[in-house]
Symmetry: D2
Subunit: 382 residues, 4 copies
């Protein structure tokens, strides 16, 4: 069976450009799909940089203007890996050009932008997806399956954290290459859009919709040198954010994220407590799932540390043998594989722009609540 080529046009070649390129290159060595991604073009404003990236990864061509990329007939998919402030414009243009669109998370800086993007892709009827890659950690995918099978029963509690410690030094500047996440104009928000968005995406996937939230945010270092202006400027992002939430299913939740938790590099954890069973997971050891089942015999009940590397575990029949772990990059390979399957079968891979919009609206409610110091309802479509 001859494979169909799917020509990728990548916009932005930073950290995320690398993870996506690696996923496109690997997916067909490990997964069977009708379509095979082809690294057709990479687009970056700096031509030399884009060229070097293309050489390293095997992109066939280079563009310096994303509008030209979108205009190309030989491009099937536009993959948006640029800072958040350009997602909306690029996505709408790509949709209007009839391209499939993959967009890095968060969908946008805030939900108004996101809503426009949703409208555009739905009007164009093009396949679309947002890179909330942690859904495709095999342990996390398995958590979803266990919940969907009803093994937890009624859910009482959800708690998630995403803790980092890389911005504690006041000497760290804001803005510019590699640091746009500290610049509110480019990023939209701080840890809320960057880290809590991951936590929220997983949470609504596992536990359903969120009704309302009470949040607080803090900016510990008030001023930093700005790389683009060279001046010391006010820091406008949230360094830390914590919030209480009530889910529609009646469960209570706490969420927290910070870049000031000394000792944690990227500690994304969640735990969910149900009537019959509980689940916990931790990005620092992503190949393990913690599982407690109250149905186990009384004296032998305990948290099981499941090494999620068996053939019967999600995605793992594609990789190595039991006991041999995969890592961060594989979540992107899985996401590409599922996107291809979505094209092959006509059943879109999640999260679509519309599904990712819900996360955006929760982020909006969180930031609003932190500002007003009030419980805030999450907006739903009218």
């Amino acid at each position: 069976m001859a494979k169909k080529k799917l020509n990728i046009g990548l916009v932005g070649y930073g950290f995320m450009g690398r993870t996506h390129s690696n996923a496109y290159r690997k997916v067909s060595n490990f997964f069977e799909n009708d379509h095979v991604p082809v690294l057709k073009a990479v687009c970056g404003r700096n031509e030399a940089g884009a060229k070097a990236f293309a050489d390293k990864w095997g992109y066939e061509s280079v563009e310096t203007d994303w509008r030209k990329l979108i205009a190309r007939k030989d491009i099937d998919v536009i993959d948006i890996c640029t800072p958040n402030d350009s997602h909306c414009e690029i996505a709408i243009a790509a949709a209007e050009a009839g391209k499939m669109i993959l967009c890095e998370k968060p969908l946008a800086r805030e939900s108004n932008e996101g809503l426009k993007m949703v409208a555009a892709v739905e009007k164009a009827g093009v396949p679309n997806m947002v890179w909330y890659n942690y859904r495709r950690v095999p342990a996390v995918t398995m958590a979803k399956q266990l919940i969907d099978e009803g093994r937890l029963g009624r859910i009482f509690h959800y708690r998630a954290k995403f803790l980092q410690d890389w911005t504690i030094s006041p000497e760290l500047p804001q803005g510019g290459t590699g640091l746009w996440r500290l610049d509110a104009a480019a990023a939209g928000s701080g840890v809320t859009g960057d880290l809590l968005a991951h936590c929220i995406d997983t949470a609504i996937w596992l536990n359903g919709s969120v009704k309302n939230v009470s949040a607080m945010t803090e900016t510990f270092i008030k001023e930093r040198k700005h790389n683009l202006t060279g001046k010391v400027e006010k820091v406008n992002i949230d360094d830390a954010c914590a919030f209480l939430a009530r889910f529609s299913n009646g469960s209570l939740a706490t969420f927290e994220s910070t870049r000031y938790a000394r000792g944690h590099k990227a500690l994304y954890t969640f735990e969910i407590n149900g009537e019959h069973a509980s689940i916990a997971w931790d990005l620092h050891d992503l190949h393990r799932l913690q599982w407690f089942d109250h149905k186990d015999e009384g004296q032998l009940r305990g948290w099981r540390s499941i090494h999620v590397t068996d053939r019967e575990h999600p995605y793992m029949d594609k990789w190595w043998v039991p006991g041999l772990q995969i890592g961060y990059e594989h979540t992107f390979v899985h996401q590409v594989a599922d996107f291809l399957t979505g094209i092959d079968t006509g059943k879109p891979a999640a999260p679509t722009f519309r599904q990712a919009l819900e996360t955006q609206r929760i982020c909006d409610a969180v930031l609003e609540s932190a500002k007003t110091e009030k419980w805030t309802d999450v907006k739903v479509d009218g």
Copy 2:
């Protein structure tokens, strides 16, 4: 040097009566103090039960009316181990009789009661202490020392949880022996006064005062059979409570407690993130302290799991040899030892009633906030 006897009169002989009695019996085998506790009398309404307890533990006599116990000349200390609704009355009477007073936590059902108790002991000038025993887990005491030495620098985050799972079954009744903690009339509140009070006591000891809170509570099982009336009645306690807090030092905090976290028996954990170092602790493995020090050499930084059983660790020179752990009961022995030292030296052991009142006020603010759904300031003295 001849030891001075300190005659104990214990009121209530349930779970806490046992832990305290064990502490009084053991303390002088391991600690050197001028005073030696003597198990003089135990008081309980059920004479047979009190007698059996006295026989088992070696109490010299039995009373069935706590007023008679307080009236006895041969009693130096009144130790209150009854449900929360009687703390206030007993404590005030004991203070008026000039007795030293040890009171189980929480100090009272709410801070108005607590304030009266503080006034009574301060007017009487009697030594007084509340049994917030977890301060005396050696690992927790060491955490306090490390913070006081300034090793963490500026504190950014505090997070604490106390998770249990013993009330998930709807068949569990409320009220009566062993179950008064589920009866709001006897307990004052649910997890807030029972479990979060521990978390709060430790937190203010380690991290200073709390300014304000935003809380939510939930009662998952709305009705339960009441053991005292035999009828199915509304449950008035909080089954779960989570809150955000801001400390006076500018740090952010999350607190959570529940009795619906499947898989956790008594998982009291806290973590504190400072500029230079972080600390974490867990009651389920109470003899370990987790320590991360950013001053460690870069490539070798990692969380250290410190087995707190060396002679140089707090209290541990009194016990066994390195590697051999102590447990829950020893925290009470330490608290008695410190109380005796307080009497010997005239420097009161903490927390006194006044210090414990602060915890009560935070609990009040938490419950108020959950009710009003607003950020609520913690009350401070005039």
Copy 3:
């Protein structure tokens, strides 16, 4: 029901004298038996030291000659807590005087001594027991139950280690108070009798008899100052010992002990792998049992970390509530409780001297093998 008094005569009041005294004092507060231990007399050559110990622990009298203690009519039990070189003589004399005997482990310096002791207690028909306390860690007791229930099926592997690091400094002297364990004349051997004896006692209890062994020993620091002579002398004990073993049930084993394993204070661990399930345990977290059950549903198999603190766990209904851990000292309380039950019921508590002799013979075979560099059979009777 009136309790019968059981008068204890303790010989030696060092580290083990304390652990035993604590156990005698506590046992009747927590366990129900017909007999109640009474701290009748403590015996030590240094009268002032013995007197101070008696005051601290509540012993009624003091002796300075163990022969006099044995001669006393009011003593029911002789508890031997002296260095190993006096176990044999004291035990035989006590047996001849018709006393019950509790003896610290190891039973003797080598099995010839042990055999005489067995003969003496069996001839006298007196209750006797050796303090291999780790059998009474609740998690270890539960391991025994699980194995006896056949849950592991055929056993393939046993591995045990006891790692310490307290003798690495060459400055540490040998011999004398607190250091007799480094003096071969007093101790008989080094880690083999001190630490491996524990591992072996547990192993034969859990996994049956050992057929043969191949061992190696090492003395890393060849000379140390001797505290008794004041001179630098050859070190005659084994600093480290490792051996291979074959059990009678066909399983293979590795054992290792050392006092040169930097970072381990008293890391006694064992693991046992059976056809259907595996068990692992670790003294540094003694209240947990690791359990893997192949009968668990495939994708959810994992090692369970069981917090052995529930009422249905061995011994734990006597202590606190789920989640609240006990520690090292409680193993001795359990052993006294079982010894009392043995007297009450006529079914002797294990290990008796005879059962402990088997451990001694394995230790002998290990040391013999290390010397001859050959596989060595474990001696059996007759």
Copy 4:
């Protein structure tokens, strides 16, 4: 700078063929070298299978006879991924043809074969390497650096295990595709060559040469159906093997491997105890290194769990950002990168055939010792 092409000819396309192919494809996306591997040809007896593999991985051509592959002028490197019984013949032929050679581990079935292979590559003067991939786990590479810097001081103990549980069922056949590791004729030995060889390779790299060993082996299931003959036949491999060893540096070691350790999929662990510090590592969580440093301040000493994902950790500047882990497959990428660097610089990457021969000789001594039940010296040249 134009890259030089390095044409790879892969012999065998089973599990190891996949891991190597993946490494060749990825290496130049992440590492900078003068040479770039090109997937020139794959060789397998089954043409259809080889063709399918070539399609999946992008090999340019297919051969069904390895002699033809070796004869091709356009092949620079022969990579041997066949069962152990063909390593020797292929390697010698490839050496005679002047090809560079990469050979899967173990080098051969036993050291006589290995010696011939060493002679052949040394005579031909061709670059050669054996795929002992675990040296390139970043945590393991860091262990090597720490030891080489003298941070552990004098080494007292080394212990390693490689535990699996996949052959416990007696229904599992031996021999044939995917099961040649259970057939002594194809594999040479069982766990000794398959698993202990890994442990030994790491050990001699970290801790120097081994003097002598005392070993035991066991075959728990004596007969299994043979896939090639269809008959039930005697099993000739070792299911389990444990041995004691003495290193030339005076340290003691225990090694163990089995495929009957229920609950362990591929638990390769090692620990090394030195005078000043200790290191432990575990393949099931390969991105962590456990580190204990006695030079840490006394009360704060503890095992550090180092998440080896920082830019300053070995190889990790090539991958993602701190906290995001890599896995099993990356060890092969590292090995290819180092091999390329070896070619670029003329300093051969380790282990060469000669270095891997030492592992083979230790395996031989282990099997000899198990057979003779005697301590056995490891053979050395000359």
